[in-house]
């Protein structure tokens, strides 16, 4: 035969791995990414743990020399902390009890039944996402304040009730649950509708072929299949509610009801005494532990799902049920929901912003309507500064987050065998902030930077850094799944064409990730603009942003001004989202 005889090497040592080059740009950037992510995520968390066994009342961790567990014993034995846990429990359970069934029902109606006006309803459900939750709390106060709330006034006169309060009281745990529950619906709807869409309808059809009716099929096939997805949604939103600050902060302030997240804030911003960093960090550690445990379960539940989703990315054409006579009540229900949860608070917000002081709509107050606040507000230099700061913050945070997220996901997805362990570490650490409530990140960042040689305490950058840390989890998740859809050969083709790693990243990978990058950019920008708790922990008069401005205006009774700023913020968010959408669809139609 024609086999060319080739001399065989005497002994070739088997090396598990070797680096034959001087550090390439790629390994350099990998190292930098590892360090940055570790620094951003781990240092604050370790600092929080350290603080929880160090600080005592009114002392920062560095000022105290004793190591003590007294902070924890105080939390668990003090009579003042027990109500916090009970309130958190009630608040979480109540919000989910209101929000999730509503979201499931809406998702089922819109995904699985033939309902008139489907597209309209589906879009309107999402509208509250552009309104900061701080503002929906303010709007609901205008509607359900026991004395001057519009709904209460209308109900009192309609039912012929005497007295000048009730029937509803927003300043209660029930009120908090109601507002928070409604607040969950848009994002829960999105998540649940997606799993309805991902479900293979032939599984249901098979049950129909076996002679089962709609009810039987729903009970014995649809729900069991959906169970992991619903359970995952439940866990996810438990964490969301525990983390929620704006609504319990605003409503609970008046009602003197504290949950874990607001308790951490008030422990460090006490109205009466000195800040208790020990209590705050112990509470923060406890919330963190609970969230970690929950997210770990969430991960376990969704790990399988995600793998499944990447294989069958095809859209199924779902089986849609004809509702028959039920179509009318179903539509009425949807329209009622949209009226109550979307339209009413939004209109109320607008109304409040054009009133010099709050008054329920009446002929008299209609006469007082003026856009004066919209002009006057600009004369306040702090408002201009807050708007400017907010824009800078949104821009800086979203750019920093995107850059970091793209790098993280690149090193995670295109991992090499030799660095498999490091890539796994990177994936885990970058997802960790998902389990860290914003208020806890804010607290931890105080500990890191108040004494740290990096002089960013009291600047806008510390807020940007905290937000980058918090939003890295979502962002890197999104870019990771986008990158997994990009065939590795597209990048290898660039390498074979002689392009070094940086050029491949710039000319091939980034452009191919453009849709995900734009999405993440908008998501982070809008969240950064509306975020309250991290900003509240870290701002000072120079670095005031719109959300903290609204918070302090509200506390000072400047309701109309708060509403004006709220309307501006909502408009800005909507503009960004709609603008991004238009930009994207134009680009899409070009190709």
């Amino acid at each position: 035969m024609n086999v060319t005889p080739v001399p065989i090497a005497k002994h070739v040592p088997l090396r598990r791995w070797f680096v034959a080059r001087k550090p390439s740009a790629r390994s350099l950037v990998f190292g930098l990414t590892l360090i940055t992510v570790s620094y951003l995520v781990l240092v604050p968390l370790l600092m929080l743990l350290y603080a929880s066994v160090k600080s005592t009342e009114d002392k920062l961790p560095f000022e105290s020399t004793v190591t003590t567990l007294s902070n924890y014993t105080a939390v668990f034995t003090s009579s003042s902390t027990l109500p916090i846990f009970l309130n958190t429990l009630f608040f979480t359970a109540g919000s989910l009890f209101i929000g999730l069934p509503l979201a499931i029902l809406l998702a089922w109606l819109l995904e699985r039944t033939v309902i008139p006006g489907r597209a309209w309803i589906a879009n309107l459900i999402l509208v509250p996402m552009t309104i900061p939750s701080l503002l929906s709390a303010i709007a609901w106060i205008q509607l359900l304040d026991p004395r001057i709330g519009l709904v209460n006034i209308v109900l009192r006169s309609a039912l012929g009730m005497t007295g000048d309060t009730g029937p509803f009281d927003i300043y209660s745990l029930y009120g908090m649950c109601f507002v928070q529950g409604l607040r969950l619906v848009p994002s829960a709807y999105l998540m649940i509708a997606a799993s309805f869409r991902a479900m293979d309808p032939s599984l249901e059809e098979q049950s129909a072929m076996a002679g089962r009716g709609v009810a039987q099929t729903t009970l014995r096939v649809t729900l069991p299949i959906m169970r992991p997805a619903l359970l995952a949604a439940l866990i996810y939103f438990i964490v969301v509610v525990i983390e929620s600050f704006d609504i319990p902060g605003l409503l609970g302030f008046t009602a003197r009801i504290r949950v874990l997240s607001t308790a951490i804030y008030w422990a460090t911003h006490s109205e009466v005494g000195l800040p208790d960093y020990g209590l705050a960090s112990a509470l923060g550690t406890i919330v963190l532990a609970a969230a970690l445990l929950l997210m770990w379960n969430y991960q376990r539940l969704t790990a399988h799902q995600e793998r499944f989703a990447t294989i069958t990315g095809k859209g199924y054409r779902p089986r849609q049920l004809s509702l028959g006579v039920w179509a009318v009540p179903a539509t009425v229900l949807c329209v009622f929901y949209i009226f109550v949860a979307v339209l009413l608070p939004f209109v109320m917000l607008l109304w409040t912003s054009v009133q010099p002081f709050y008054a329920a709509p009446s002929a008299e107050s209609l006469g007082r309507m003026s856009f004066e606040s919209y002009y006057k507000i600009w004369q306040e230099s702090s408002v201009v500064r807050a708007l400017w700061n907010t824009m800078v913050l949104a821009l800086v945070t979203s750019i920093a987050t995107i850059l970091l997220a793209v790098l993280v996901s690149w090193f995670v997805v295109r991992r090499r065998r030799q660095t498999d362990g490091l890539a796994h570490y990177l994936a885990t650490v970058s997802f960790l902030p998902q389990c860290v409530p914003s208020i806890v990140i804010g607290l931890a960042f105080i500990f890191v930077y108040v004494r740290f040689p990096v002089p960013i305490y009291g600047t806008l950058w510390i807020i940007a850094l905290a937000m980058t840390t918090r939003y890295l989890a979502f962002s890197s998740r999104t870019t990771t799944s986008a990158l997994m859809q990009v065939h590795g050969e597209l990048e290898e083709a660039s390498q074979m064409a002689g392009a070094p790693w940086t050029r491949t990243l710039r000319r091939v990978t980034m452009p191919l990730l453009a849709p995900a990058i734009i999405n993440v950019f908008l998501w982070v920008a809008v969240h950064a603009m509306q975020e309250l708790s991290m900003a509240l922990m870290l701002y000072n008069p120079d670095t005031v942003v719109v959300s903290t401005m609204i918070w302090s205006m509200w506390q000072n009774g400047r309701t109309a001004d708060a509403a004006v700023l709220g309307v501006l913020l909502t408009g800005l968010s909507a503009l960004l989202l709609v603008g991004g959408h238009v930009l994207w669809s134009r680009r899409h139609s070009n190709s």
Partner: protein, 377 residues
Amino acid sequence: MVPASFEFIASLSVIGVRDLVKTFPGARGEVRALRGVSFEVEKGELFTLLGPSGCGKTTTLRCVAGLEQPLSGEIRINDRIVFNAADRVFIPPEQRRIGMVFQSYAIWPHMTVYQNVAYPLTSDVSRKEIGGRVAAILERLGLGPLGDRLAPNLSGGQQQRVALARALVAQPQVLLLDEPLSNLDAKLREQMRFELKALQESFKITTVYVTHDQEEALALSDRIGLMHEGTLLEVGAPVELYLRPAHKITADFLGNANFIPAHVDGHEKQLGAEMLVATPLGNFVAQRGEWQVGVPAQLFFRPEYVDLLDDADGAVNGLNRGSGVVERVSFLGNSADVIIRCGEIALHARAHPARLPAVGKRVCFHVAPSSCIVFAG
């Protein structure tokens, strides 16, 4: 740097691969994907790595490209060592000056055809020259009017040409093709096969071609290297490999084969043949093969070398002859696949479509000694 082996460097081949070992992490420890693969590719030659999926052919190609780093061995392109495990040499793919066409074509969807093809040039060539060279290669591949199109708006065949143009535009020393035709439909595949060959010959570019399609390999290659479970089993020209395989695996993988259990009786000097084997079909003389007297062996011949004789010819008895009943005839268009039942054995034969034997009829057949090979085992 001291070359690992002097003879190796002195040879005239363009690609030299020696003792390549590559492992992948598997469910139970390391999986040896390549177990010492060595071959050389001469200048201007089209060398095909052929084998079933999982045999290591794509891994070998990716090692040559630099997209995978082998555990040990050496890879040389022209007189440059691009990989040597012992000396810790690894030249990254972007510095190897290799053109490559991927199985998925990997056309960048966000760039036009022109941008795709110009991509390998932008670093050291003037703008004007880039334009000229891209236009020339697009023209050469019949893509002239498509320069402004975006990749998603191209047909499969056009995408394949764009991938080729992109691989060739920088005038690389070596072209690597990873199953480039497997994503095309049957008709287009056949057409592209000839175009590819013509193109490769006119560019006189040294090419390594990976495929699992034996027909493709036979039609295109100057030489074929047959891979099996991480080793390069045998290397040879297509005709040689097809007609005179040295291994049973090669015989089995290339084309269709009949294997008849046999044992070797001895030499038949009279017929000028090398060996006589006894089979259930009768005694056969084979011109080639490995054998040991008394040890079980297998007689191999291809269906198309089975001559079906008219019954009238009679002479059933005699060397290299047998008879059986036609069990099934599958009409394939340009020929028919005939299965002849001879007791335990179902023999495959090819019949001319104009002379299809009737099912159930007894037929006699003859296989020339020159078409018979005996394999041990």
